[in-house]
């Protein structure tokens, strides 16, 4: 083999702390290395051109690039060598930037380390062989998980581009958090008026199949060919018959059911349609409170239903869908403020969450848009907003900012004044975060036009006294203690991943970050991709974000899915496992452990069982390789011999050194 080694200075990023010329010189002495050079920017056009030229001039059949992380530029250099006529897999990278120059201060040690990393890359490359990829057909269908505004946007964009979409929503209606909101900032326009038409579009789009009241059971397969098993939960109402007339909800005698949509502000019936604009507008029975389902008596809804849609024998069912891409848009949940003992631990009726307040403000909400204290139903005159409840508080395990609370506090204080003109709002805040277009002006309006009083400081205690709530906190600007006698306290509870997010991440084989939000592939350059090909992210499931950001990300994720599925066939990564039938003894341990069911049992020429890899299904993890005691299963480009060569390349130099 003839190997060329290309050492990148990365400007001064590498060169300042690694003697690149020396690395190149040392590399020239490695087995099979016949060319070595160093360049200022290997990834630049002249840099890539020098690789191409050297390949031709020196008849190279493999290239080591010592530069930044392969996670950054492996694809770039694969294209470079391909342009020069080599197989794209005949490149290995030595990461001498992130793993060397950026972390080590001593130039000599760094240079030695860089030489070693080039040595192992060359040792591995010697055992690389050209790989040719196979192509496979893609399913031109997208699964969108979550029917909030981000999911709806993603579904609509995909469908408009001609892709079929399965939109799965856990609740009985799409709309998500946005549907719960009364108004949106900074325009203070009606949330439902903005969202409603989009929901209708989604429901009526011929390419979108809406699966409400359903959850993802599991997802198998790989990019272009996922199989999702979707659980349709038992709603006890035949959606194909239900017209959403609502007669059943009027007759239902079980009226003490927790009102999920209204966040427990008021109660609802066991059979329920969450809100008038629900899409699909279908009733769903809550089995925990339904008298028929719990006690076997009643059935009032069935009697009144004009279409006979009620079916108490309904069972959940699993529906299988084959899709080519998945967009996760599962949104967010809210922090449980009962963890704040000092704020009453959730036991003070007049300390409510911002989303409960939002429902109260909503004309279609449980109070008909009248702001009432939960304890006595009276209109509050003094309303205190407390920001960062479960945000920016490492002690509560919530170190991050929830992004949009500052803005909705401003909005809610404005709305409070609109609803109760003689009211006074107070806001306890740490910082006011209003960086987007029109946001800063909006918070100023709250203060200047609506007289909301902003107090910079944390609230230390909330306790009831004489029918009021005493909110005690610090005013850090004045350096004094403040006490406000409030009628109602609204806690701006922080944002957290939905409870099912972790499980869904496992099913989709994507990562979550330290806070449980789905992790993007690259924080800057691949913000909607994940490390699992074909799975994209939209909305607050990736991190707290407001409506415009969620909508933008929904479109972005859709764009990624569209460009992926625009191709008829995808290229399968050829770095897959292969079974050498001469070595296979047929113990099928590999079959047992393969997470992708990519290895099957066949019969060898000797009539004995042998394992065989289904290449299109293999994802290249290499678990099989380790359980095969005789090394019959080998993962291309991560073969035993390659890893052993890397180990030996490192140890052998050291052994030789220690002999001295």
């Amino acid at each position: 083999m003839r190997i060329g080694v290309f050492v990148c200075h990365c400007g001064s990023n590498i060169a300042a702390r690694v003697n690149c010329a020396e690395v190149a010189k040392a590399a020239l002495n490695f087995p099979d290395v016949v060319f070595a050079t160093d360049e200022v920017y290997m990834c630049s056009e002249p840099g890539q051109e020098s690789i191409r030229k050297a390949i031709v001039e020196h008849r190279l059949d493999g290239v080591v690039v010592a530069s930044c992380s392969p996670r950054m530029h492996e694809v770039t250099f694969r294209r470079t060598v391909e342009r020069a006529g080599l197989n794209r897999y005949m490149v290995e990278m030595a990461n001498i930037r992130e793993h060397v120059s950026w972390i080590g201060h001593d130039k000599d040690s760094n240079t030695r380390k860089a030489i070693d990393l080039v040595r192992i890359a060359a040792a591995k490359l010697r055992r690389d062989k050209p790989l040719t990829f196979k192509t496979f057909e893609v399913v031109k269908k997208v699964l969108v998980v979550g029917g909030g505004v981000a999911g709806i946007q993603a579904a609509l964009d995909c469908a408009d581009a001609g892709l079929d979409v399965v939109l799965v929503e856990r609740k009985s209606t799409i709309g998500g958090r946005m549907a719960q909101l009364d108004k949106t900032f900074p325009t203070v326009d009606c949330s439902t008026c903005v969202l409603g038409p989009k929901m209708v579009d989604a429901a009526q789009h011929t390419r979108i199949s809406l699966m409400a009241y359903s959850e993802i059971e599991d997802v198998s397969g790989y990019v272009g060919n996922f199989t999702a098993r979707i659980k349709r939960k038992a709603s006890y109402v035949d959606f194909s018959k239900c017209t959403g007339c609502g007669l059943c909800t009027e007759k239902c005698p079980s009226k003490k059911t927790f009102d999920d949509f209204n966040e427990g502000v008021g109660t609802t019936t066991a059979i329920n349609i969450p809100f008038p604009q629900a899409i699909p507008k279908k009733a769903v029975i809550n089995p925990a409170t339904c008298l028929k389902l719990t006690k076997g008596k009643c059935g009032a809804c069935a009697k009144v239903c004009p279409t006979g849609a009620i079916n108490f024998d309904m069972r959940e069912e699993i529906v299988e869908e084959r899709v080519g891409a998945v967009i996760a848009a599962t949104g967010y949940d809210l922090f449980d403020h009962s963890k704040y003992e000092e704020y009453g631990g959730g036991k003070l009726p007049d300390v409510i969450t911002s989303i409960q307040y939002e429902r109260m403000l909503s004309a279609s909400g449980p109070t008909g848009g009248h702001v009432k204290r939960p304890s006595d139903g009276k209109e509050p005159k003094t309303v205190v907003f407390v920001s960062c409840v479960g945000s920016r508080d490492p002690a509560k395990g919530r170190p991050y900012c929830s992004n949009f609370c500052c803005m909705y506090i401003a909005k809610q204080s404005i709305l409070t004044k609109d609803h109760i003109p003689d009211s006074q709002s107070y806001v306890f805040y740490i910082d006011i975060r209003a960086p987007q277009k029109g946001y800063e002006e909006f918070t100023r309006r709250a203060q200047e036009e609506y007289g909301t009083r902003y107090i910079r400081g944390r609230v230390s205690k909330i306790y009831p006294e004489g029918g009021k709530l005493i909110v005690r906190g610090a005013d850090t600007l004045l350096g004094t203690q403040v006490e406000v006698q409030a009628d109602l306290v609204v806690l701006a509870v922080g944002v957290e991943p939905t409870p099912g997010a972790g499980k869904l991440a496992e099913k989709l084989r994507i990562s979550t970050d330290q806070n449980g939000f789905f992790m993007e592939s690259h924080p800057k350059l691949r913000p909607v991709e994940t490390n699992t090909a074909g799975v994209f992210l939209a909305g607050a499931c990736q991190g707290p974000k407001d409506i415009p950001a969620s909508v933008a990300q929904g479109s972005a994720a859709a764009g990624k899915a569209i460009s992926l599925l625009a191709r008829e066939r995808l290229e399968a990564d050829p770095q897959v496992s292969h079974v050498n039938p001469k070595r296979c003894v047929g113990c099928m341990k590999c079959v047992r452990v393969c997470p992708f069911k990519a290895i099957k049992e066949t019969t060898g020429r000797d009539g004995l069982p042998k394992a065989e890899v289904i290449e299109a299904m293999c994802q290249g993890c290499g678990i099989c390789s380790v359980v095969c005691p005789q090394g019959a299963v080998q993962l291309e480009h991560f073969k035993d011999d390659q890893i052993l060569a890397e180990v030996e390349a490192l140890c052998r130099t050291w052994v030789a050194k220690s002999c001295e």
């Binding site: 002495n29 992380s69 392969p70 996670r71 950054m72 990461n95 930037r97 992130e98 793993h99 060397v100 950026w102 972390i103 080590g104 201060h105 001593d106 040690s109 760094n110 030695r112 380390k113 070693d116 990393l117 192992i120 972790g502 991440a505 496992e506 084989r509 990562s511 979550t512 970050d513 330290q514 992790m519 490390n531 699992t532 770095q575 452990v593 997470p595 992708f596 290249g620 993890c621 290499g622 678990i623 390789s625 380790v626 359980v627 993962l635 991560f638 035993d640 890893i643 052993l644 890397e646 180990v647 030996e648 490192l650 140890c651 052998r652 050291w654 052994v655 030789a656 220690s658 002999c659």
Partner: protein, 166 residues
């Protein structure tokens, strides 16, 4: 911090491409300085890390071996690190019976976002290997000794080359 105790030891890291290799990248991006003894071998998944690679490294002259992958539940291939956890734990408990200090081997989970944690892992592990010192050596390989006799280590054989093999 780059030079622990003045002399480097041979430490090999097997890192999963998706999490810990990215974590090490993140540490680099964050300029979290670390000792330079560690040499990282990139693996597709900790599920690919055969415990025998670790043993091979240790008997071949490595003073310490570090394996790092995705946190449980975060495996890119959904299950690789679960298998790895079992194998590597068994391996860790085998080492003392071989007369090899179990601290020469460590396995851990570092995600792609945990650059600071990676810095901590590398720093502590390197310090620990330096506390243990170089590994007891076995007989040097024949090849190594033979090459040394030839003076070939610097690529400068001391006799004129017979033209064989060309």
């Amino acid at each position: 911090m780059s030079d622990v105790g003045g002399k480097e030891l041979r430490i090999i890291g097997f890192l999963c491409n998706w999490c810990s290799y990215g974590g090490a990248d993140a540490a680099g991006v964050g300029r979290f300085s670390q000792p330079t003894d560690l040499r990282i071998i990139r693996m597709p998944c900790t599920g690919r890390v055969d415990p025998l690679f670790v043993l091979k490294a240790l008997v071949s002259g490595a003073d310490g071996v570090l394996v790092s992958g995705c946190h449980p539940r975060d495996c890119h291939y959904s299950e690789g690190n679960y298998y790895a956890r079992r194998r590597l734990e068994v391996l860790k408990r085998l080492l003392p019976m071989l007369g090899i200090h179990e601290d020469r081997f460590h396995y851990t989970w570092v995600s792609a976002s945990e650059g600071a944690r990676w810095q901590q892992v590398v720093t502590r592990f390197t310090e620990r290997i330096h506390e243990l010192g170089p590994m007891d050596s076995l007989d040097p390989e024949l090849a190594v000794c033979a090459i040394r006799e030839l003076g070939g280590e610097n690529g400068q054989a001391d006799q004129p080359a017979p033209a064989s093999g060309e």
